[in-house]
């Protein structure tokens, strides 16, 4: 991200000195900015990040003649008014990183709305190169735009582009290079505001420049203050006489509101649009206007009163099946690969701590990270297709009413549904939500939906304790309770932590349906996957090694010795026949495993936590199993197999384990245990994914704590109340 100073430098990677030009791409969402970026830079991209917020900034480079263009794709924004994290990042990048050239990508079929950002850039003192994108659609729709006149009126270079057919890429690069070499005129652009407003803007600007003569563009700051821009207000407040300026501005705002009947920001935005429509009148000519477009025809089915939902369900079913069922195949290969790697390592290395670390810690840990890749790749392939075609917006459109009831957004439906498969890709799918609040809520709630790894636990317990209704009980936990918890907690959050109504309005664009290009879908998909590997991979690996270590250590030679002696004694015992001998040894082996596990750090933590699990009817063995469940939920079953199997004879097969569960749990305590498994943190990978995606430590801590508290409370309440009725 750091390119050092703002001077243009030289690059000499291949021995030739090249002039470096730093370019930023700015534009509205759906302006085709990212596909233009893909066209320009091809595969030479890397995902950067911006000071901890979950806004991706992608960088790429391009060589042209003697110049090297370093291009940064800023987040898509409708404006630069810092209401959202995206806008803040975009504006900060432009003002603080001082790129040599800003390219403003514009959907030429919707010129007026897209020029709004251009006007804001001009006011900021930036002179962008305009890329009139989607030129093919302009032609199809019969819109004619006089680019020469537009360029004259705005005083900016204008280039026609179409990222779908690579049209205008050379022109755009040339324009960028030429624009970079041109000396900036220190001409300050300003829209003319209504007279009453103009006079107060002038007087406030004067105050600002008097208080601080270093301010470059006092008029801009004054206008921003009238628009209640928090960033500028903060900056002014820190400068000399800041308080007085802000107070004066407040007085002016009240004055204007009294005089003109609306807030200054309305008139400011209106004046900008007025300026734009003047330009549009001179340059745009709508010769034939197709009222009924292809998009409308598609929408007659996809957002139809009745057909919308069956179609949506089919798409969701396909997405789910592809992600998890199709994903199982490569996941199997990955499992085999890492199993083989582990075998190879074990057989070629001498028995040592290092070998155990490599095989059980590192190889298993890397395998645990990679194994999610097929899911994430396929899910994001599907999401990219949905987003790039424009269907995502329609899905949100038809689902919003339901999701909004529990304080979420229409787009939250996809993470919720994917939660049934695996919480990790589901949490990542929350990236499609624009508003940080919606994203946080969705990330907090998604792990409550029961993922497929919890299924083995439910199957075991339901089979053991509710044999007559096993199927129903599994369905109850896997589907009803999971979604039930999602809805209830959603309602709770809506009325507590997220009560404040300074929410983003649901102004969601419904872009026309477009055929996505394979290239942009693949790049999009790869970025998400790269993000997962980079951000999650390392941490998950560390955690896996730590969990492995805690589950394998400390070594207790005394226990090893004790059981070795016991087994040897049993084998040497002449008084019992060989079949009894085998079973005696098997029992001893199991006792050995169980005692070993209870001696490890995880075992000790579990034992230590016993007082916490007794309120819902579980003993220390249950607690240890739950702690090991942090590795992955299905591990709960295998841990129970080890811990409860002591002295019970054949317990390897599930029938045996079922008997063991039956003798150690009552239906009630089993029910409470299942409830706990359903509600607590899914696994360490999901936990880390959530923490990383929340990008804010307060919410991260909260997300971990609330799930544990919720699980404990629910299990305990059910158990304690149940005990009153069931004696």
């Amino acid at each position: 991200m750091e390119h050092g100073n703002n001077e243009t430098g030289t690059a000499s990677a291949d021995g030739f000195a090249r002039k470096i030009i730093r370019v930023a791409l700015a534009g509205n969402p759906n302006s085709g900015k990212t596909s233009l970026f893909n066209c320009l830079t091809g595969a030479s991209q890397k995902v950067g990040n911006w000071s901890g917020v979950t806004v991706d900034i992608v960088e790429g480079s391009l060589r042209s003649g003697s110049c090297q263009l370093l291009i940064t794709d800023l987040p898509g924004t409708y404006s630069l008014s810092t209401c959202s994290a995206d806008e803040q990042v975009a504006r900060q990048f432009i003002t603080e990183k001082n790129p040599d050239v800003v390219v403003n990508v514009i959907d030429a079929t919707n010129l007026e709305r897209h020029l709004y950002l251009t006007v804001q850039l001009l006011e900021l003192g930036i002179r962008p190169v305009l890329a009139l994108n989607m030129w093919d659609e302009v032609m199809q729709k019969g819109i004619s735009i006089d680019c020469k006149r537009l360029s004259e009126l705005l005083g900016l270079p204008v280039v026609k582009t179409n990222s779908r057919s690579n049209l205008g890429m050379k022109d755009l690069t040339d324009a960028i290079i030429e624009h970079a070499s041109r000396k900036e005129t220190s001409h300050l652009f300003s829209v003319n505001y209504p007279q009453e407003l103009e006079s107060v803007i002038k007087s406030l600007a004067q105050m600002i420049s008097q208080a601080n003569p270093d301010v470059k563009n006092a008029r801009y700051d004054a206008v921003q203050l009238f628009e209640s821009d928090k960033e500028v207000a903060r900056k002014i407040n820190e400068a000399p006489q800041g308080r007085e300026i802000i107070e004066q501005c407040g007085k002016y705002i009240a004055e204007i509101e009294k005089k003109l009947g609306d807030t200054p920001e309305s008139f400011i935005v209106e004046a900008r649009y007025g300026y734009i429509s003047g330009i549009s009148r001179e340059t745009v000519n709508l010769t034939k206007v197709d009222r009924v477009q292809v998009s409308d025809k598609i929408d007659t089915v996809l957002t139809h009163r009745f057909w919308a939902y069956p179609v949506f369900i089919v798409f969701m079913w396909l997405l789910f099946q592809a992600t998890f069922k199709l994903g199982e195949i490569p996941m199997g290969w990955i499992g085999i690969l890492f199993g083989w790697l582990g075998d190879v390592a074990s057989s070629h290395l001498p028995e040592s701590v290092f070998r155990d670390l490599l095989v059980d810690g590192i190889i298993a840990g890397v395998g645990g990270v990679i194994v999610f890749l097929p899911n994430i790749l396929i899910l994001f392939l599907g999401i990219s297709i949905m987003e790039d075609t424009g269907y995502m917006a329609r899905a949100a459109f038809i689902m919003d009413k339901m999701m909004h009831r529990i304080g979420l957004h229409g787009k939250s439906f996809i993470p919720m549904l994917m939660g049934l498969g695996c919480s990790v890709p589901a949490i990542m799918a929350a990236r499609t939500l624009e508003s940080p609040k919606d994203r946080i809520k969705t990330i907090l709630l998604t792990p409550l939906v029961s993922c497929s790894a919890r299924l083995p636990v439910f199957v075991l317990f339901a089979g053991a304790l509710f044999p007559k209704h096993a199927g129903n009980v599994v369905f109850l936990f896997q589907v009803l309770f999971g979604f039930g918890a999602f809805i209830l907690m959603g309602l709770l959050f809506k009325h507590t932590f997220f009560k404040k109504t300074d929410d983003y309005p649901f102004v969601m664009e419904l872009p026309p349906y477009r055929l996505p290009t394979l290239r942009s879908i693949l790049i999009h998909m790869w970025h998400k996957t790269e993000h997962y590997l980079k951000k999650m991979g390392g941490v998950v690996l560390v955690f896996s090694v730590v969990l492995w270590w805690a589950g394998a250590y400390p070594n207790n030679p005394e226990i090893d010795k004790k059981y070795e002696d016991k087994i040897a004694a049993a084998e040497a015992d002449m008084s019992i026949d060989s079949t009894t001998k085998v079973s005696v040894v098997a029992v001893l082996q199991k006792e050995y495993q169980a005692e070993k596990m209870s001696q490890t750090y995880i075992g000790r933590v579990g034992k230590f936590l016993e007082p916490l699990v007794t309120p819902f009817g579980t003993d220390w063995r249950g607690a240890v199993s739950l702690v090991t469940g942090f590795v992955a939920k299905e591990v709960v079953v295998s841990s129970m197999g080890v811990l409860y199997a002591v002295g019970e004879g054949e317990a390897e097969n599930s029938d045996g384990l079922r008997d063991v569960i039956r003798s150690n749990f009552t239906p009630l305590s089993g029910f409470a245990f299942m409830l706990f498994v359903l509600l607590y943190t899914p696994c360490v990978v999901a936990l880390i994914t959530a923490v990383r995606e929340l990008g804010n430590w307060k919410w991260s801590v909260f997300s971990v704590c609330y799930q544990l508290c919720l699980a404990w409370t629910a299990a305990t309440v059910v158990y304690q109340i149940g005990r009153i009725f069931i004696r």
Partner: protein, 82 residues
């Protein structure tokens, strides 16, 4: 004058002003809901919320309770007034 949320699918209206404040008002203004802009109501979602609109040349959707904050008038009326 009426609220945008009171309009039926197919209506063509013109923005008069926005009720509300903060991020909500800001965002709507930026999306082109400035006074005098033409708005066409395309359709309501199957569950009657949100509503699909064409504002200027943009096709956007808005929740019904948010559309309450947009005060509009019929286009024909404004022609007569002029």
């Amino acid at each position: 004058m009426k609220k945008l949320s009171e309009c039926a699918a197919g209506d063509r209206v013109q923005v008069v002003r926005l009720d509300g404040e903060g991020v909500f008002k800001r965002r709507l203004l930026e999306m082109g809901f400035v006074s005098g802009t033409g708005v066409e109501i395309i359709k309501y979602a199957p569950l009657k919320d949100p509503v699909e609109l064409i504002v200027g040349q943009s096709r956007i959707s808005l929740r019904v309770d948010e559309a309450c904050g947009v005060i509009v008038r019929d286009v024909e009326l404004s022609v007569e007034e002029q």
